[in-house]
């Protein structure tokens, strides 16, 4: 069926997928890659307006060929700005290089085109424009030379571990490269690209040692590895334990192998995380759950040893099998407990992911509401509090306090002054939520002495 028309990269068409209610839906999708395995073709599709984590390889019968839209030649999607050769050559690409002799004019053309298409499909295109402009401004008429010449300046910033600019988002990193990861009792389906050694990306399953997170190509190798690996917990100092929950602190400089393995695993589930630079300036806080087999990793967050921007979390992740069970909030709570010990306010590094935003908002809301509801009338006067006070108590950065108050619609202007109003449904909702929140950090169980990294001379 699909064979008579050539579905190439960049084509858009509705693709069948099941939604959460297990109903069929046909969201518009873009073809990112085509591969031929013996007997049939497979298409890697990205559902427009859906998160990349839902991208997948589909068989031709799931494509709605009747509504196929061919890519507009000049209006390349940002993903095609990747490395020369990083994507399989396609006819469209050749057209572009033919144009590139008249580089400047083709550039203008591109801009016009994006504008023209603005009404249509092109939120993604608009968003990508800054990237294109910057590239074009590098000067030079030959596209290829631009690509190679801006290698160094385009390296991501050295601080933090998240990238916000997507100039590196080429076709390679846009596609998941690992099919399945086996970690302890779990089989995980990665959400995003992760730079595991390339020769391992073709495996049906990548095996990870549950405790040291070493990657292995087969079960046999894992078996062998386990005879040599005697770790039963993350290789760091346990700084918190209550019940079965423990937190281990790992220094990204002192324990590189583990930190890197952890980052590789985390990258599978974090889109904007960059592994461009080494792990030296980070500390990793790994949350584990204990059972008779050992301390099993549940999630982690990383944190810059010294943050210039008040970040108290760089990357944060609850592993998929543990998601939606309150562990994420526990991780967040722990990160603020650390900030409290440090006597600082902090905020997570941006950009947040969708799940990150929801989790943080939820945590902030509950934390702030908890404070507001607990305030008792003082000498018969109405209780009051400043934003700074909230921030100090919770270690949540002021901006986040404000944004949460706003999001909850608590701030009102009444009779010439700002007030906080707690509506019924907010109060009820909060009480319901707090009843469900069993997992809490107990500050008494935290044994943590912050180090002054600036005085140590090294990270």
């Amino acid at each position: 069926m699909a064979d008579n028309v050539d579905v190439v990269e960049g084509c858009r068409l509705p693709v069948l997928r099941k939604n959460q209610e297990n109903e069929d839906e046909w969201p518009l999708a873009e073809i990112l890659s085509v591969k031929e395995i013996p007997g049939r073709k497979l298409y890697y599709v990205h559902y427009i307006d859906f998160n990349k984590r839902l991208d997948e390889w589909v068989t031709p019968d799931r494509l709605d060929m009747k509504k196929l839209q061919f890519p507009k030649k000049e209006a390349k999607t940002p993903t095609k700005n990747g490395l020369p050769g990083s994507r399989p050559s396609s006819p469209e690409r050749e057209v572009v290089s033919a144009h590139s002799t008249a580089g400047y004019s083709s550039q203008t053309l591109t801009c016009c085109n994006s504008k023209l298409r603005f009404n249509g499909t092109a939120r993604r295109l608009m968003a990508s424009q800054p990237g294109r402009k910057r590239k074009a401004n590098c000067g030079g008429t030959d596209e290829d030379s631009q690509d190679s010449s801006d290698g160094i300046p385009s390296a991501p910033r050295m601080t933090g571990s998240l990238v916000s600019d997507r100039s590196h988002d080429d076709i390679v990193t846009r596609m998941k490269n690992i099919d399945c990861i086996e970690l302890g009792r779990h089989r995980l389906k990665p959400w995003y690209f992760s730079p595991y050694p390339q020769e391992l990306t073709t495996l049906p399953v990548l095996y990870l040692c549950e405790f040291c997170l070493k990657y292995l190509k087969s079960l046999k190798c894992l078996q062998r590895h386990l005879t040599k690996c005697n770790l039963r917990h993350p290789p760091g100092n346990e700084i918190y334990r209550k019940g079965t929950i423990s937190f281990f602190e790992i220094d990204g400089r002192k324990n590189k192998t583990y930190s890197q393995n952890l980052c590789l695993l985390a990258k599978c589930f974090l889109d904007h995380k960059t592994l461009y630079y080494d792990t030296d300036p980070f500390l990793f806080y790994v949350m584990t759950e204990y059972d008779s087999k050992g301390f099993h990793i549940v999630g982690y967050f990383s944190k810059e040893k010294e943050s210039t921007e008040d970040y108290n979390v760089a990357c944060i992740l609850t592993l998929p099998p543990y998601q939606r069970r309150g562990y994420g909030k526990l991780l967040i709570e722990f990160s603020y407990e650390l900030s409290k010990v440090e006597g600082k306010t902090g905020t997570p590094e941006k950009p947040l992911s969708d799940l990150g935003l929801l989790s943080y908002r939820s945590y902030w809301s509950q934390t702030i509401l908890e404070i507001l509801m607990d305030l008792k009338p003082d000498n018969g006067e109405r209780p009051q509090i400043t934003i700074n006070e909230i921030s100090e108590i919770t270690s949540v950065k002021k901006e986040d306090v404000i944004s949460t108050l706003q999001y909850l619609n608590l701030i009102n202007y009444y009779k010439g002054q700002y007030i906080l109003t707690l509506s019924e449904d907010i109060v009820d909702g909060h009480e319901r939520a707090m009843q469900k929140r069993h997992l809490r950090i107990d500050p008494k169980c935290l044994h943590f002495t912050p180090k002054d990294w600036s005085k140590r001379g090294k990270w």
Partner: protein, 716 residues
């Protein structure tokens, strides 16, 4: 509308906000729109992602229901937690410790191999296990080492042999398997590794390269300035440590082989003793093929592996020392059991054995070569006692021991030091005689060994050859004791062998003899046998040769005792065979031929004075090592020829000359030797000059040479 006409003041974070419940403020709805005055905070998400369908749905659901609705959550790819074999995979249980866990991060990298065996390897292992025992861990360690040693290209088999201390068959099978597997492997290594950045920046955009070093000046605070430098230093240190490890491993290997060889040698000796092979004939038969084995095949380490280049120097040093130690070890063996006449003895002195058939030496020599080669892989570079076998002998005759001036060192003038050197030697050591094979063993030093054994540390000197000709009993009788140096120097002029004997006898040497002499002076053994006489002279002649070069070395300055040793060995092989068939005169005339060919008027004159003249020469270079300066001026231009010749003899020549070890060497063979000599005299003026220039360094070298044979001493 009018309500909006005023602008609300900015929200002040420091200003208290009163908290109301909505029910307390029925008129709140009126002022809601004011909210706009508070600047909207960014969510912190990427704009495009913020608009994603599922997120928006989840947000609005939360706004509406104030809690999560099951079907409104953001969908994610599934995860399963049903690995059934988990308990078999992760064996054992862990009891939770009472205390919080603390770990030393530095203790983490244990010595476990990073390579993990796969099922393919297991098949091989099962196959190998039929023939020998190999544990998975052992296999993994082997592959691990091979992998880690192969940075840019695969390690070669010889390198692998050095790397892995394993049985040859096992090594070969694993190596071959590894090479095959490596070829089929898609990754750059069998141990999957994260792609590393390349320094040229070509990998800046490679998505698979991760964890790049932060190379830019890390926003340097003052106390971080040195980070880069100290990092480099640590890198260097690490490199050097790993080199040390390699070296030590090789030493370990070598010493193991040495021990093995020692056992084998011992076994051979015992077997020979049982066989009654006192003439060495059996051994000779067996070992002739061995003698032909090329001695100078370069050791494997050195042919490949740039990695080892830098350590070469150290290695040479070390092996040099080791070798000396090993030689020293043999001395007790020699002296403790003096009755074992034909046991393998110190190479330097073997030729002195009376009554040993000429072939005997050659056989021994083969042994020695074998020993040298096998006992220490790199020994060819530092053959203090073995024939010079490295191909670049010509360019760098002294190899490791080549003299280098040290900055800031003062070098004393020639003659004084030379005398002092010889003197010192004479004072430190005494002439030593053995009682049972009644003979003199040259200079030596006594010390007490275990169980009251007397151990003799011998020192080699230019005198040895002469001294050992002497009857030990000659020293028993006290002789005139006032003989000063000048008098000795006059011995140069002495023209008869007897005279030299006298000279030596009359010197005030300390002499050690183990037991009061039984006075078994056997005149016949010394003089009566004409054959002995012939041998003596012929050996002397050889020594002439030897000392000719030795003497030269004194003047030319490029030599040390070690070289003397070398040259003597070279010539022994050729000349020993001459012993039987040719008289000293015949050989001498041959030599004379060569010397005339080399156009050295002064000395050929001396030499042509027939046997007596030769002995005179012997005395001059033998005893009178230190005395040479007296006549060096006359011989300077000519002597280097000889010396050069000596070093110019290629290994092939050795062999050629070594082969006539057959019981009846022919004159023809000797002629070849002579021709070799004839070929020599290509001395350029430059080399002569350089030899002259180096003359001054001789004293030190002489001393070094001596000390080399007595104790393990660092050669500067």
């Amino acid at each position: 509308m009018s309500k909006l006409s005023f602008r609300a003041r900015a929200l002040d974070a420091a200003k208290p906000l009163p908290i109301y419940r909505s029910r307390d403020l029925p008129d709140l709805k009126d002022c809601v729109s004011i909210n706009r005055a508070v600047p909207q905070m960014p969510t912190g998400m990427e704009k495009e992602e913020e608009l994603e369908h599922h997120l928006q749905r989840a947000i609005s659901a939360q706004q509406v229901f104030r809690e999560k609705k099951e079907n409104m959550v953001i969908p994610v790819p599934e995860a399963e937690s049903n690995i059934t074999y988990y308990d078999r995979l992760y064996k054992g249980e862990l009891k939770v410790p009472k205390q919080l866990i603390h770990i030393q991060p530095l203790g983490l990298d244990n010595e476990q191999p990073d390579y993990d065996m796969d099922s393919e390897d297991e098949t091989l292992l099962n196959r190998l296990n039929r023939k020998m025992e190999i544990k998975p861990l052992q296999f993994e360690t082997m592959v691990d080492r091979l992998e880690k040693a192969s940075a840019n290209q695969l390690v070669s088999l010889p390198e692998a042999k050095l790397l892995l201390n394993e049985d040859d068959y096992l090594l070969k099978s694993v190596y071959d398997y590894w090479v095959r597997k490596r070829k089929n492997c898609r990754g750059p290594s069998l141990i999957p590794q994260i792609k590393q950045e390349k320094r040229d920046g070509s990998t800046n955009n490679d998505a698979y390269v991760a964890f790049r070093r932060r190379t830019e000046k890390m926003q340097t605070r003052k106390n971080r300035k040195n980070d880069e430098a100290s990092y480099e230093k640590m890198l260097k240190l690490r490199r050097e440590f790993s080199r040390t490890v390699t070296i030590l491993e090789m030493i370990k290997r070598r010493e193991k082989s040495k021990r093995e060889l020692l056992h084998l040698t011992l076994e051979v000796v015992e077997k020979r003793y049982l066989l009654g092979d006192f003439t060495g004939e059996v051994l000779n038969e067996v070992t002739v093929p061995l003698a032909e084995k090329p001695v100078y095949t370069a050791p494997v380490t050195l042919t490949n592996g740039n990695r080892h280049k830098a350590e070469l120097k150290t290695k040479m040093h070390k092996t040099g020392l080791m070798h000396q130690v090993s030689i020293k070890d043999e001395f007790p063996f020699d002296c403790v059991r003096p009755k074992k006449k034909y046991s393998k003895r110190d190479k330097l002195y073997t030729q002195r054995r009376p009554g040993r058939p000429p072939s005997q030496y050659t056989v021994n020599k083969a042994d020695i070569k074998q020993y040298d080669f096998h006992s220490s892989g790199e020994e060819d570079y530092t053959p203090p006692l073995s024939p010079p076998s490295e191909p670049d002998e010509e360019n760098d005759p002294d190899g490791l021991f080549a003299f280098r001036r040290k900055a800031g060192c003062q070098y004393l003038s020639v003659s004084v030091c030379k005398l002092a050197g010889m003197d010192a030697l004479r004072h430190r050591h005494s002439l030593t005689a053995l009682s049972l094979p009644s003979r003199l063993v040259g200079l030596g030093r006594r010390r007490m060994g275990r169980g009251g054994r007397v151990i003799l540390d011998r020192a080699s000197s230019g005198l040895d050859v002469v001294l050992k000709q002497l009857d030990p009993d000659a020293f028993a009788s006290p002789v005139s004791r006032t003989r000063d140096i000048n008098r000795v120097s006059s011995a140069t002029a002495a023209s008869s062998f007897a005279e030299i004997l006298n000279n030596i006898q009359s010197l005030r040497w300390h002499c050690f003899r183990p037991r009061p002499a039984q006075h078994q002076v056997n005149e016949g053994s010394r003089m009566g046998k004409p054959s002995l006489d012939g041998r003596v002279t012929s050996s002397l002649l050889l020594n002439t040769k030897n000392n000719g070069s030795g003497g030269l070395s004194f003047t030319a300055g490029a030599d040390n005792q070690q070289l003397v040793g070398k040259t003597s060995e070279i010539f022994f092989t050729s000349a020993q065979c001459a012993k039987c068939t040719l008289t000293s005169y015949g050989l001498h005339s041959l030599l004379q031929c060569s010397s005339t060919g080399t156009s050295r008027p002064p000395h050929s004159a001396t030499l042509s004075h027939s046997g007596a003249g030769i002995s005179g020469r012997v005395s001059s270079s033998g005893i009178g090592g230190p005395l040479l300066p007296t006549h060096s001026s006359s011989s300077l231009q000519s002597l280097p020829n000889h010396r050069n010749h000596v070093s110019a003899v290629s290994p092939a020549h050795h062999h050629h000359s070594a082969q006539p070890s057959a019981p009846s060497p022919s004159a023809l063979k000797l002629a070849t030797v002579a021709t070799t000599l004839d070929h020599v005299p290509k001395v350029t003026p430059a080399s002569t000059i350089s030899n002259l220039a180096r003359e001054n360094h001789e004293p030190e070298r002489l001393l070094n040479g001596i000390s080399e044979t007595t104790m393990a001493m660092e050669v500067t």
